[in-house]
């Protein structure tokens, strides 16, 4: 059959395809369960439609807001729907005030993938975590920095790697997520050693102990993007990150955290928040957030206690200098509060929900189960505004702004008054700025040159 070489080759390919193109674990069960649920609007159908609408509107938007300005802002292209007028929403919370459950188990939350990062562009300072008012670590493109007095920062490691996440569970033990590698330290960062990778590149990790950790790997977005996008997986480790195994989870996970080996939370691209109380073996839906624009939503969560969670949900649909976001919080794991929403877009659809501090999702940091600090980005105003949420989100207070910047990449607050924020100085540097009065005043601590964009 010499004449059939090509066919043999094609059939060899087919053989490998049949063997290797494995469907997700428990696909049949998932499909059968899916028959019982109403299907959301198909993302595959809407994304191109969304793009078409953007194409029709892009010319007008460019004229309205200036293509150069938008480009310089380094933000998602706000070209998807007609300009939306700014409509302030009432500041009263629409929901009953939950009883805060203060918990001493709240652990410093890791800094997730920088919210302002563009795909393939990792800032010089992309992630930060403070462990108390003096100890802290920051990481970004090609370097890890640390401080031991909360003021002065020194470079701990120089690398060709681009770091996008930091997670410390003690003054000595922590992890840094790179685009290609995962590093760990047990001596406060004096030495870093490479750990294992999951079957797909790890995008974020969150450890609840020296051995137990979870993370999100894979996804169809480029490394350094602000979310894994679709088709990410949950990975877990029981040996401090040396080995990772894929864990069952709802589809398209975006962000995951565990407060201990048992209690965890997970948010998905579909805008659903799940809760696990058995170490991630099973997940139960806890909250359905606003509907995502097909294929565009992403979520960041920060665990504050086994029953307390804060969620920053961006359903997609950036428009005319506004990128919708909604913040949700629970202090008891049962009752959810819609804390705030982007006022110019989705806020209009959520009457009674207070306006968030910026027109882009920005950064946030959870202080304890009842308190968190949000820094909202407003690129057109070239400022990032600080808002303190207390009492489980029932009370919001806008304080001051970081002027001269329209984007932030991470925040780490150790109290509602003292916190560090990663941003840029509008002059080609990525910087760490700090406040000790709740955001009214800010001072710069470290500046590193912004890496050239690809």
């Amino acid at each position: 059959m010499a004449n059939h070489d090509g066919e043999s080759r094609l059939r060899r390919y087919a053989q490998v395809f049949r063997r290797e193109a494995n469907p997700p674990v428990n696909l049949a069960n998932s499909l059968i369960n899916g028959l019982a649920m109403p299907r959301p609007a198909a993302r595959r159908g809407i994304v191109p439609g969304f793009a078409m609408a953007a194409g029709v509107l892009v010319a007008g938007l460019v004229i309205a807001f200036g293509a150069i300005q938008l480009h310089n802002l380094g933000r998602p292209s706000p070209v998807v729907s007609p300009p939306v007028s700014f409509t302030p929403t009432p500041s009263a919370s629409p929901e009953s005030t939950p009883t805060p459950t203060a918990s001493p188990t709240a652990t410093p939350s890791p800094s997730p993938t920088p919210p302002g990062a563009q795909p393939g562009v990792v800032p010089g300072l992309a992630a930060i975590q403070m462990f108390g008012p003096r100890l802290g670590w920051a990481a970004g493109s090609h370097a890890i920095y640390s401080t031991s007095d909360g003021t002065h920062w020194t470079k701990q490691l120089t690398s060709s790697e681009e770091f996008i996440g930091v997670d410390f569970i003690s003054s000595t033990t922590g992890w840094v997520v790179g685009v290609n590698t995962l590093l760990g330290t047990t001596d406060g960062g004096r030495s870093w050693h490479q750990l294992g990778e999951a079957q797909r590149p790890i995008r974020s990790v969150h450890f609840s102990s020296t051995n137990q950790g979870s993370g999100i790997a894979g996804g169809n977005q480029q490394p350094g993007a602000n979310s894994p996008g679709l088709a990410g997986i949950v990975v877990m480790t029981n040996d401090g990150g040396r080995t990772w195994r894929m864990a069952q989870s709802p589809v398209d996970p975006q962000s995951i955290c565990f407060t201990d080996g048992v209690h965890g939370w997970l948010a998905t691209q579909a805008g659903t928040v799940y809760r696990s109380q058995d170490g991630g073996q099973t997940w139960k839906q806890s909250l359905q957030m606003t509907s995502p624009l097909a294929g565009m939503g992403w979520a960041r969560i920060e665990c504050a206690a086994p029953s307390a969670l804060w969620v920053d949900w961006a359903p997609g649909g950036a428009a005319a200098g506004h990128s919708p976001y909604v913040v949700y919080a629970t202090v008891d794991g049962q009752h959810w509060r819609t804390v705030m929403a982007e006022p110019g877009t989705i806020g209009n659809e959520l009457p009674g929900v207070p306006a968030g501090p910026g027109s882009y999702p920005g950064s946030f940091s959870v202080v304890d189960p009842a308190d968190a600090v949000f820094v909202g980005d407003t690129p057109p105003a070239n400022a990032a505004t600080c808002m303190i949420a207390t009492n489980g989100g029932a009370t919001l207070k806008t304080t001051g702004s970081i002027v001269g910047t329209g984007q932030t990449f991470g925040a780490a607050f150790v109290s509602t008054s003292t916190g560090w924020v990663l941003t840029d100085d509008g002059n080609g540097h990525d910087v760490i700025v700090v406040t000790t009065d709740g955001g009214y005043h800010w001072s710069q601590q470290l500046a590193v040159p912004r890496p050239p964009t690809g």
């Binding site: 090509g6 066919e7 087919a14 193109a21 696909l27 198909a42 595959r44 169809n220």
Partner: protein
């Protein structure tokens, strides 16, 4: 409503058995057509949902598979049509089909993957069912809702195209 409720209400116990049997091959068919695992799964889920909601869905396995494949092919074609529109005004880079690249790497034949992707959606449907699932022409026609003669034409065109794209390929013409 849980799974048990849903499947019991309609008194179609064969449906779940068919799903379990066909989940993998149908997923692979969908993956070959879309090159995207998430979309492949979604199309499969929607296809099954459509079959579930249709009172006249055949209970017999071969007919069921034919019906399911036709729905998948139709939805995948629709997906490609929308993708083609989106490409004209694309603002972002398309997601890399990493599972497919891994398959090609393991097959040691990235060229074949490239060739298959260069086929039109309909040609890829026919080529997949013929070469990957060894389905006879009549069956392919039934699954795709086209005449067997059309299948032969498409196969011939596919082979010509593959030869043109990869001159070293020597593919057997469909003979019956």
């Amino acid at each position: 409503m849980n799974k048990e409720d849903t499947l019991a209400v309609a008194d179609r116990p064969w449906f779940e058995a068919h799903v379990r049997l066909l989940a993998r091959p149908a997923y692979q068919f969908s993956l070959m057509l879309t090159q995207n695992p998430a979309i492949a799964e979604e199309i499969l889920q929607e296809g099954l949902t459509q079959l579930w909601a249709t009172p006249t869905t055949p209970a017999e396995l071969v007919e069921f598979r034919r019906y399911l494949y036709r729905v998948i092919a139709s939805r995948a074609t629709d997906y490609h049509r929308r993708q083609a529109l989106a490409r004209r005004i694309r603002f972002w880079a398309p997601a890399p089909p990493d599972p497919m690249l891994e398959i090609e790497r393991r097959a040691g034949d990235q060229e074949m993957g490239r060739l298959l992707r260069s086929l039109s959606p309909r040609e890829r449907q026919v080529a997949y069912l013929y070469y990957f699932e060894d389905q006879p022409v009549d069956e392919i026609g039934g699954a795709l809702g086209i005449k067997p003669a059309t299948v032969r034409v498409l196969l011939h065109r596919t082979i010509q195209k593959l030869r043109r794209l990869g001159p070293e390929l020597k593919l057997r013409e469909q003979s019956s």
